[in-house]
Structures are given as C-alpha cells and as structure tokens.
C-alpha cells in the first residue's frame, strides 16, 4: 500500500513543461510586461516553482492526507484543543456564495445578510459570556488575549492609572505571558497549589496598584473549576485590576456558568474549539472577545451595529484601540460558529457541556485505575494523568505511552502540559465521542501498560515514520527543499 509518490516532495515530482492550470487567451490587447513596467521592477523569469500536472498534484496531496490522523478518522483526545466533531452542514453553509464570495469592502447595503449574521453572533457570544460587548475581530485565541490586554491598557491609560503588570498562574497556556509581554506589560508568574488551583495567598501577595490584569483559565488546564473564583475576583477587583478569562475551556461550562457572572471583565472565545470550527492542521481559528460595559469603548474597530433594522459596520469609536487585523475578522470560522450555536440552541449548548463533562469523568474513572490522576476523582471537560511513577519504576515516559497509542489507532493526548504535572498526559474526550470509543481507548491503554518497556520505547511501530530526530532538526535546520546543486 505504501505509495512512493507520497514520499517524494512536490519538487522531486516536477517535470519541465507540465502544467495543471491553463489560463485563457487575453481578450484585451497584450504588450510585453517590460513595456508596461519599470525595468528595475521586472523579473527576468518567473519564480522557480515546481511544474506538475493536475493528476500529479491531486495524487500527491491525497496520499499525503492519508499520513495524518484527524477527527474524522481517529479518536483525537488532545487535551486543551477540544477536538470535537466538525459538522458537515457547517461546511456547506459557510461555502454559500452569500458568505464565501463576499468582498470585505462591499457596501453595507449589499451585505445585510452577512452583517446580520455577525451582529447576532456578537449577541450570542455576549449572552454566553455574560459580558455585554463583543469584538469578533481577533483571528485566534492568542490574538484575542493580546486584543483584550490592549483594551485593558487603553482603559487604564484613560483613567490616568499607571498599571504595568499582568499576573498569570504557572499552569496557564504559554500564550498568556507571551500576549502580556507583547501588550507592553510585565508578566508576573505565580505558583499554583498542588491541586492546580490559584494560590490565593500568592495572588494576594502580588496584587497591588501596579496590577492591570489577572489572567485565569477557568476551568483550569487541569480541567477543574476554580473553587475560589469569587474570592479571586474580589481580590483582583479590590486593587482596581481587571480579571481576564482565557476561554479555551468554555466547552465545559456552556450554559452552566458565565464568566461575566463569576467575575471576569474580559475574555476570549476559541470558536474552533468550543463551537466546532475545523482545526485545519493548525488553523484557521478565531478569537472573539467579550468585555464588560465600561471596557466597550476601547474595543477594536469596526463593530457591527443595528439601527432602524439596518446593519452596518461602525468605525466611529474614538476611544478604540484601533484595528488588530485587516478587514473584519475570520468570518468563515464565525459563520460555522453561528451555525453550531443555532443547531444546539440554549438546551443543546448546555448538553454540550454536560456530555463533555460526562465523557471526561467516565474516562477519568477508568484511566485512574491504570495511571495516577493527581487532581482526584472529578474533573470538568478534561483531566491530567501522570506517568511519573511509571517513569521512575520502569523508565516508561508519557511520550512512550503517547507514541504507542498511535499504534493502536488513537491520536495521543497532549503530553508534558500543563507544566505543573510531571510526565503529564492531558486527556480531553469532548462530547462527540461515544462510550464505546472511550472503552476501546482505555483497553488500549491497559494493554500498553502491560507491554515490555522496550516495545514502548521503540513505539510507534506502525506509522509511516518513528520518532523523528528533533535534536538534529533544530541543530541543523533544513526548512526548505533546495535543488541538489544548491545544497551545501
């Protein structure tokens, strides 16, 4: 079955004279480009791209695709990434010309359906967040974090307050401190409790008049709802700071609890996680944010407004931080989000959370008999098991287990994150997996743990490649193909 054509690179398949696209003859007069363009700007020859026929290109990529695991083909319990089923109706609807073929600078009069969809999306997210003002502009979660922190900075600047720090628990996603630095703040890390909760004393010790924002992931990256969230919010607000919610784990609390109700002033959503946008091998996502009323004036321009039954883009927002990207936002992802929210309705969204939490707790109960789960017997949408004892006793690491799971036809969990759990295996089943799939996963794990350590160290055995040499890749980076003559 192995197809040699897939192993080769596009460039190695290239053959002078082959072409997959033939353009029509011009229906207007032609002259040489050099007669129309400045000599110093003209290329002597087109770029040295590969030359391929259409069947070559299609066979190449279809073969490559078969070397991926994906949600449509495999159970993909990648913790923190919420790899749920991507509904096919959403794809068909997002491809309608009335959405997919809209130019961003069309007059608002010609985009009333599009604008209504976006306006309603703002309202839906405000209701789900419990925060009244929404910007759909950010392109991904990390971009939403940055945007929110810029909003916070503009708010404090407007108040005349000098606030320079952003406090972040050590269990947070790496994007949190990276976004804080990019927004011009000093990122201050605080330790979490052994159970992965916010250490209230550590937080209080760092909170002062210099604190702009405290960023919290709730439910946490360990999949736990923060028991002290009300006291945390109170402490943050008592020094005049804002609380930011990293909304990566909203799947666990849809319709159950709202960030605005538990003290968050700003948050981002990950529609590609919570609202089923396909992950695309690394995007696109989207990162819309919701904020409290007093922060609304600082949101990026434009936002969608509705007056007298007409929808339009509003650019007239003098206190806005400005644009955070060109055009409106990752609209294609937002259209899928809109379809997903309407498919579920209020009860359905709550059931998303219930079924995600049911699946995670069921899996936790079964996995806990095989591997320690330090956080205890309950979780929200995900949990973190540890292979640290196994590592000490048998030399078997979280990575070994992850790699061996691939042989059994399961994508690996997230490993070595969060950083506060050694040899972490972070497992998120989502609501779209069945009990039967989860049972099969547990049986595979049971089998793996009984296998000789050597078998696991050598895993995976059935994939196209086994354990790429990451050290070599980083030490001598080869980041592009070059013709042999050009290689040193």
């Amino acid at each position: 079955m192995r197809n040699r054509q897939a192993v080769q690179l596009l460039f190695e398949l290239s053959k002078p004279g082959a072409e997959a696209v033939r353009w029509p003859a011009a229906d207007v007069p032609e002259s040489a480009p050099s007669a129309l363009l400045p000599a110093g700007a003209c290329a002597a020859a087109p770029p040295p791209l590969p030359e391929l026929s259409e069947p070559d290109v299609v066979r190449h990529y279809v073969n490559l695709s078969t070397w991926n695991m994906s949600v449509d083909t495999h159970y993909y319990p990648l913790g923190s990434c919420t790899m749920k089923y991507n509904p096919k109706r959403n794809e068909r609807l997002a491809a309608l010309p009335g959405f997919a073929e809209m130019h961003p600078y069309q007059p608002d009069d010609t985009a009333q359906g599009m604008l209504r969809l976006l306006y309603e999306s703002q309202q839906f997210l405000a209701e789900i967040a419990g925060l009244p003002a929404v910007s759909l502009q950010p392109a991904a979660g990390a971009h939403g974090e940055l945007t929110s922190l810029l909003v916070a900075a503009a708010y404090f600047r407007d108040l005349g307050q000098q606030r320079t720090t952003v406090i972040i628990p050590d269990a947070a996603h790496g994007t949190n401190p990276a976004s804080a630095a990019l927004a011009g703040f000093e990122a201050v890390t605080i330790k979490s409790t052994p159970a992965g909760y916010v250490d209230l004393d550590a937080l209080r010790a760092r909170l002062d008049q210099r604190t702009a924002v405290f960023m919290i992931t709730n439910p946490s990256t360990l999949g736990m709802f923060e028991p002290n969230i009300a006291r945390i919010a109170e402490a943050v607000h008592s020094v005049g700071a804002l609380m930011y919610l990293d909304g990566a784990n909203m799947n666990a609390i849809l319709g159950v609890a709202r960030p605005g109700d538990f003290g968050a002033d700003l948050m981002h959503f990950n529609p590609h996680k919570t609202f089923s946008g396909p992950h695309g091998g690394g995007g696109p996502g989207a990162g819309p944010i919701a904020v409290a009323e007093r922060l609304a004036p600082y949101l990026p321009v434009p936002v969608v407004v509705c007056r007298d039954g007409k929808y339009r883009l509003d650019f007239d927002r003098p206190k806005s931080i400005g644009r955070v990207r060109s055009f409106f936002g990752n609209v294609g992802v937002l259209v899928r989000m809109y379809a997903y929210i309407l498919t579920h309705g209020p009860e359905g969204l709550r059931r998303v959370a219930e079924q995600a939490v049911l699946n995670a707790n069921y899996l936790l109960a079964k996995v806990a008999s095989l591997l320690p789960v330090p956080q205890g017997p309950r979780c929200m949408h995900e949990f973190v098991a540890t292979a640290s004892r196994l590592k000490a006793e048998r030399g078997v690491s979280a990575m070994d287990i992850a790699k061996r799971l691939l042989d059994y036809g399961f994508h690996a969990p997230t490993v070595y994150f969060p950083l506060i759990v050694p040899e972490a295996l972070m497992i998120e089943p989502t609501e779209t997996e069945s009990k039967q799939t989860l049972d099969a996963f547990v049986e595979a794990l049971r089998t793996i743990l009984a296998e000789p350590a050597e078998v696991l160290h050598q895993a995976p055995h059935t994939t196209p490649v086994c354990r790429p040499d990451d050290v070599l890749a980083a030490r001598k980076p080869v980041l592009r193909w070059q013709p042999e003559a050009a290689q040193s």
Binding site: P46, H103, L182, V256, H272, E431, D469
Partner: protein, 444 residues
C-alpha cells in the same frame, strides 16, 4: 441533538461507573451561586433543514461581489480558484486535524507545510518562510517586531512608507502602542526616487509596499539601498500574484518579506480567514514568529518532517517568546501550496500577465472619455486609482452596483483628501465586456 453519540443507556452506565446518580452531580465543583440557573437566552435549536433554510436566506440577502463584476481589491482580490484547491482542502485528514505536535500521526500536514515553506521561498527569493500567520497586516506587525528585536535599543524608529496599505499601518500602530517604538510615516502615495529623510541611523527598519496600495510599481533599488546604507532592515510588502512578472522581494534586497496570501487560492470570505505570509533571510530565522517545519530523519534514517526551533515559541519560552501566536492559518497555507503547485512558474506568469493587460486596458478605457482621470501616472500592476472629475464617488458606485458592477473601493474611507477617488482592481476574472460596461457607465 445530532452530535452526541451516547444513548440514554450509555449515559446510565457511565454515571454508574463514575459513581454519581445524575449529570447535575458532575457539576458540583461549580459553586451554586455562580451557576446560571436559567437557559441561555438564545434562539431555539434548529434541525439541519431549518438551519439550511435560515442561513440560505441570510446568504441570499447578500449580493456577493465574487458573483458580480468585481473591481474591488485594496488587499483582497477576486481571483479564480481551481477546483483541485477546494478538493484537496476538503480532505477530512487535512481539515479535521490539528497542529502536528505528534509528528508520526501528522506527516501529511508536516510535509505539506514543509512544501509550503519551500514554495514561499521560491516565490519570494527569500531563504526561509514560516508555516503562516493570521493575515498580511499582522504579518507586517510581526516582521516589524522582528526588526526591532534585531536592531536593539538604539534603533526604535519604524519608518513606514505611505505606499503601505492604510489598514496595515493601523494594525502596526495598534501592535506597537505600548512598546517603546515610534512609527513614522514617510514618502508620498507612490514610491519614487526621492530621498526618504526619515530613514536614518535611528531607524530599525523601512517598510515599503510593491505594488503600493494604489497599485503602482516602482524601481525600489534606490530606497532599499538608502535604508541599507543607514543600517536599517528593509521589509517589503508584496502581492504574491504580482511575482509572476515582478522582481521577487529577495531579488530587491528585502530582509523580510510579508504578504496577504488570500489571492493564492483562498476565498474572499468577507475578509477572513486569510493567510499571513512571512519570509526572511537566513540570519533572522531564530527571531521568526510562528511554526516552522524542518526536515530530519527518523530512527530508521528515513527522511521525515517535524516542528522545529520551538524554543522561539510561546509554549516553551512564554513571555520571552518571539511572538504570542499559537493557532495559525494552516488550512489556508495548504490551499496556497496547492494553488502554487497547480500553477507552476508558467501559470503564475500567465495569470500575472492577464491581470497586467486587463488592468492597462481598463486604465486606458476608463480615462478615455474624460469623466475620470488617473490619480497617478506611475506604472501599475493590477489596480489603479481613479479620480472622478464630475460626480460624487458614492453616487457612481451605487449606480454601478445597480448594474451588478462593484466599480472599486472608495479611497475617502482611508484618505479624506481623496474622497473623489476610487481604487479599481482588475484580476484575470474580469472580461473586456465587463470593463467596457463599466466604462460606458462612467461616460454615460
């Protein structure tokens, strides 16, 4: 509900295994006073048929430019997308996978990204490309952050030529608003041989666009040489399609090249998701933002691919990372790679030539009657700025829209002093017939 596979029997068995008697009991962690206690105030659930009817009606309420004679451009272009691009991108194994952290389960995505990086270096003449950023504007902001890191504390001026897309300049301003850097505008609307006094020994970089926002093309050699003499890096914003006929950023002497990659096989989609392209010279590779895929070998010595140089990235380096980006635009990058491999050098050259010829025909045709004139005489690639001599822009655009023609983007939106002007883009999809119809409307 369509996407929950567990039956009531399954759920009962699962609750029993967990040791609780209801779904509610699983939410005990959430303090009672903080629970919502009511259904969300959202429209009731819709089945697939109702949803299809509802969203089709919304779509029908739009008049999509991509279905009309679209002369709108200004950074987002109505280019033709070959069917194989849609076909490949619709492969479940590509579009329902995620970031290839587990290399063995992701060789398809990894190799496709390695090929994308290579195609972008071939396209641009640069040494290295990353695996994508959000869009052209944020790619420029990231490029400027790279330049600032490289330049060090003595050089904090970012000189941006006015030929750069106004929204890119706005985004750059937003990104830098709390960092110790100064953005300075320079030059006129088009690039010419005049000196740019703002570029001096305190400049970290010069940002220039080729073609410029107004479609014009210039010989960039004098400005590039001047910037390099001052010790500033040169960031070139380019149009990928234009490289079928124009010199590549690498051949122009660019240190970093950025672009909006939408025109490489990606739908207009009302402005996103699009594709941020960023490529640079070898020496800046460890300051690059975003994912990089590298070649290596596996245990058996087989050539393969893996994410590499991850110590630049937020999940390792946290607040010291080169960027905060995590999720990028993988599927759009895949589409661009399929598009470029389908076109090849000759296809890219031909589509660029078609744009060029049709644009020149339109430029001549629209100004022949005397009711509109060119804002700039400089050579152009696929769009040009037109001044209406005797009628308001809005009125003309509305009249054209009634005939199914999107005549262009009104420039007053970004430049109040140009409120009698519009920017007209002409891609390979525009026909002589459509251009003539627009000209007749203008003259009528």
């Amino acid at each position: 509900m369509p996407y929950f596979p567990n039956t009531p029997d399954d759920q009962r068995a699962m609750l029993e295994t967990i040791g609780v008697d209801s779904l509610d009991a699983l939410f005990e962690q959430v303090p009672k006073p903080l629970r919502l206690g009511r259904p969300l105030n959202l429209p009731p659930a819709m089945g697939e048929l109702e949803l299809t009817v509802h969203m089709s009606a919304l779509a029908e309420a739009d008049a999509p430019a991509g279905k009309a004679a679209c002369f709108l451009g200004a950074g987002a272009y109505d280019h033709f997308v070959p069917a194989l691009v849609d076909f490949v991108a619709a492969r479940s194994e590509f579009y329902t996978a995620y970031t290839p952290y587990q290399a063995e389960a992701s060789q398809g995505t990894l190799q496709a990204m390695f090929e994308y990086q290579t195609l972008i270096t071939q396209l641009t003449g640069m040494d290295v490309s990353n695996a994508s950023l959000y869009d052209g504007a944020t790619a420029l902001a990231e490029a400027v952050l790279m330049a600032l890191q490289t330049a060090g504390p003595q050089r904090r001026r970012v000189v941006v030529h006015r030929s750069v897309h106004p929204e890119y300049r706005q985004v750059l301003g937003t990104f830098l608003q709390n960092l110790s850097a100064e953005v300075v505008d320079s030059g006129g609307y088009t690039v010419d041989a005049a000196a740019l006094p703002e570029v001096d020994s305190s400049a970290a970089c010069l940002v220039v666009s080729q073609p410029g926002f107004f479609g014009t093309v210039a010989d960039l050699a004098p400005v590039v040489e001047h910037a390099h003499r001052c010790g500033a890096l040169v960031i070139v914003v380019f149009d990928p399609i234009s490289l079928g006929v124009l010199k590549r950023p690498g051949d122009l002497g660019a240190d970093i090249a950025v672009a909006e990659g939408q025109s490489l096989g990606n739908p207009l989609s009302y402005g996103g998701p699009y594709l941020g392209i960023l490529a640079c010279r070898e020496q800046f590779v460890r300051r690059m933002p975003g994912r990089l895929v590298g070649q290596t070998v596996d245990r058996s010595g087989r050539r393969c691919w893996t994410l590499t140089l991850q110590t630049r990235e937020q999940h390792i380096r946290r607040e010291k990372a080169t960027s905060n980006i995590c999720t990028n635009q993988g599927l759009l990058a895949l589409r661009a790679a399929v598009y470029l491999s389908a076109l090849g050098p000759n296809g890219l050259k031909r589509v660029a030539e078609l744009c060029l010829h049709k644009t020149h025909y339109a430029r001549q045709r629209l100004t022949a009657g005397g009711r509109a004139s060119l804002l700039f005489d400089a050579p152009v690639f696929k769009e040009f700025a037109l001044r209406l001599n005797d009628r308001p822009v809005d009125e003309f655009l509305a009249a054209a829209a009634e005939r199914g023609i999107y005549a262009g983007a009104p420039l007053g939106r970004w430049f109040p002093e140009l409120n009698d002007c519009l920017l007209v883009a002409v891609t390979e999809k525009r026909t002589r017939c459509e251009i003539d119809a627009l000209a007749e409307l203008l003259e009528g």
